[in-house]
């Protein structure tokens, strides 16, 4: 009975979504804003990667919000977990030699790759979020493969996390003061197109975000693991 009703309700929803989608202009150049981004993105922001020009240029404010959401998730998780009673769980298997050795070899490379991704966010696919996530996945690997868990340095991770966010904001606020009174305004010169030092504030912000996201995501894993010790 209950299942039947649910299925009917979901089918109605599906009907609605299909009805809405049926009038959607797929593959037509009706998307005015997107067209503007592809046409003028380079001039407006100086970033070679158009996705980046949208993420940090046109919609930088959203990115600030998303960074905050991540920050929030990390804090919220810590709040919830810090109040829960610690409970034991299954014994930890010692990681195999292969995993351990592989980790030693891969870990610096992963970090390096992550750094590359967020440093070149304005030039090639990727950016602060992706780079940070890659770095964090390196830390996940570390947790998996090191026999005795090394704890993340609380001080350093907090510092990265906060300073990363603050740099983003302060750059935004500097834009408000300098130039033409716009928050997150690109007050640095765009430089030569398609080089590392171009696109004004974008690489700076991406570096900050990269550090922030990397440390935050690692911290989430760390907090989760800490509680399960």
């Amino acid at each position: 009975m209950k299942k039947g009703v649910s299925i009917i309700l979901l089918l109605i929803l599906l009907w609605g979504v299909v009805a809405a989608l049926s009038e959607m202009p797929f593959g037509k150049a009706k998307l005015e804003v997107a067209g503007h981004y592809t046409d003028y993105g380079k001039e407006d922001t100086g970033a070679a990667n158009i996705v980046t020009s949208v993420v940090l240029g046109y919609r930088g404010f959203d990115t600030l919000g998303e960074v905050t959401v991540l920050f929030l998730a990390c804090i919220g998780l810590a709040v919830v977990l810090s109040t829960l009673k610690k409970q034991g769980c299954g014994a930890r298997q010692t990681p195999s030699l292969i995993l351990n050795t592989g980790f030693r070899f891969l870990f610096p490379l992963i970090l390096l790759f992550g750094t590359y991704v967020f440093m070149h966010g304005h030039l090639s696919p990727g950016g602060g979020f992706q780079g940070g996530a890659v770095i964090a996945s390196g830390f996940v690997l570390m947790y998996l493969s090191v026999p005795k868990i090394k704890r993340l340095n609380h001080f350093v991770s907090t510092l990265f996390e906060s300073v990363g966010g603050l740099i983003f904001l302060v750059i935004g606020l500097i834009g408000l003061k300098l130039g033409s009174q716009y928050f997150l305004n690109n007050f640095l010169p765009n430089g030569e197109f398609n080089t590392l030092l171009s696109a004004g504030i974008i690489p700076v912000i991406y570096i900050a975000i990269g550090f922030k996201v990397g440390s935050e995501l690692s911290k989430i894993i760390d907090v989760l693991l800490e509680e399960s010790e």
Binding site: V5, S6, I8, L9, L10, I12, L13, W15, G16
Partner: protein, 618 residues
Amino acid sequence: MSLEILLAIAYGGAFLTYFSGKISQGLRDGAAVLLSLGTVLIVSSFYNVPAASVLYEGFLGLSLVLRMNSLAWFFAIAIVSFNALCVIYSLAYMKDRNEKDYYYFMLLLINAAMLTIVLSGDLVTFFIAWEIMSWATFLLISYNRNGALQAGIKYIVLSLIGSMCMLIGILSVYTSFNTLNISELSGQLTTASAGYKLFLLIIFSITFGIKNAVMPLHTWLPDAYTESPTPFSAVLSGMLTRMGVYGFLVILFGIVGIKSVLTLGSGFISYTKTMAWLGAITIVIPTFIAMLQNDAKKLLAWHGIGQGGYMILGIAFGTSLGMAGGIFHTLNHAIYIVLLFLSVGAVEYSTSGIRDLNSLGGLFKKMPIAFLGGFLGISGLIGVPLTNGFVSKWLIYKTLILENAPFLAFAALLGTWGTILSVYKFLHNLYLGQIPEKHKNIKKTPLAMQVPIVILSFAIILFGIMPGLPLKVINSINVAFGFSPLDVNLWGVVSEAGTLNMLNIFTALIVFGAIVWGIFRISRPATLTDQYDNYAAGAAIPKDKYHYTVEYYAPFYRMVKPFLKDIFDLLYQKVARANDFLCDNIRKIYTGYVGNYVMYIVFFMAFLIFIQLKWSVF
């Protein structure tokens, strides 16, 4: 002296009293008395001085206006005088109670709010003051704890229903006529359709009917009167309840206009007829219920309801005689009911809180002043000639006769008979007969209690012999409402239905009294016998049980009790229980199971999407 200053003193006085109580008790008592006497003086200085002023320009786009005219003055002077008497009385009565700062604060706040109601020149001010009065009254009814809590809730629920109705009424007037000024409205409403007028009248009648305890809406009153501190019961019964009458006067005569009211409907369906009959029912049933009561205050409370019926009956016909009767009865009722409450309060004070009629008696010698109050009070309540109640009842009866309403007149008469029976029980069980052993050494009545009782007793006689004093003012109210003036002199009224001249009656009664007195002188003097000096077949008499104030009217009780259930109260209790049940079950839609909640969400969307895609309703 402007009206704003008067209100500032009234409201400021309440706060001042409260804060001075934090400094010293004596200061607070002094402040309360002086401020309430001060307001009496100020209000009395407005006699025949019409005034109007704008209190607040542009409150939500409206002007809050105050005005003083004869109607307002009449009610205002009554309010502040009774308040002052009750404050003086409280000095002694409330002496040993806690939280007196709070008590005086609320008492004066309610007084100020009532004053604002009668002074308000527009309906918003009226409503605001009405609401302040309602919640402050609630807070003071609850003062006695225990049973008072239930009474308070009952009061505030009905009060809230009333004020919501009034709010709808007021705002519908506002949206239709774009003004809420009473004097401006009076001209405009004549053009409105009959249905609209009826709607307005009904919705306002609910409000004022609740406040004036007209029969099906009376249920809050007995509990509230009984459970409040007695001086406040006096205020409550004296003028606060009669704000309902004031409201009726304003809406019937001030706003809608009596000419249009009289045209609404015909026969029994007509508005005025219905109102009059409700008034008659309100007279008869509560008066007989009152007879069954053994709690002195509850007995008075039921009479409070019953007497309200006379006022409604008086004003329902919209003749100048009836108006005069209704308004005058409002004042008279206030005088004697306040007096009665105060004398019950004196008994209560002396016997440390006993007001059960079965266990009192014979207090006449111990508390002569209280007896005087009680005696004159019930005389007024019955309407004995030479007391004020007689005059107003006479006016109302005359109105009924002139209007050719024999059944209503009979109902009113029936009410009077019931009143006689029940208040005699009241007087007898408190003051007459023999005094029970345990009350032999009771506290004396303090001076602060005696003074108000004496003043009010005097007023009963004064207005009984010289009804022209208040009737003059009432006459000017009549004129202001557009009625033909009555021919009033100091001793009475001359009207087409006959002349009332209290001087003649006074003389006749004096002569008659002299004869009766003479006969009593000649006959053998009565001898007093001790309560226990009687033959009981040698058995020991249980002292408290064998007392002839116990079970007064017992055979009569058995006869009428089955017919005199307060069915409305039972009905309301049922409604309240049903509401409790419903509320408890409504809450169960929040099952606590998150799957259901998600289902609600999906259902909401699916419903909307379905009806739109299927039928395009939006």
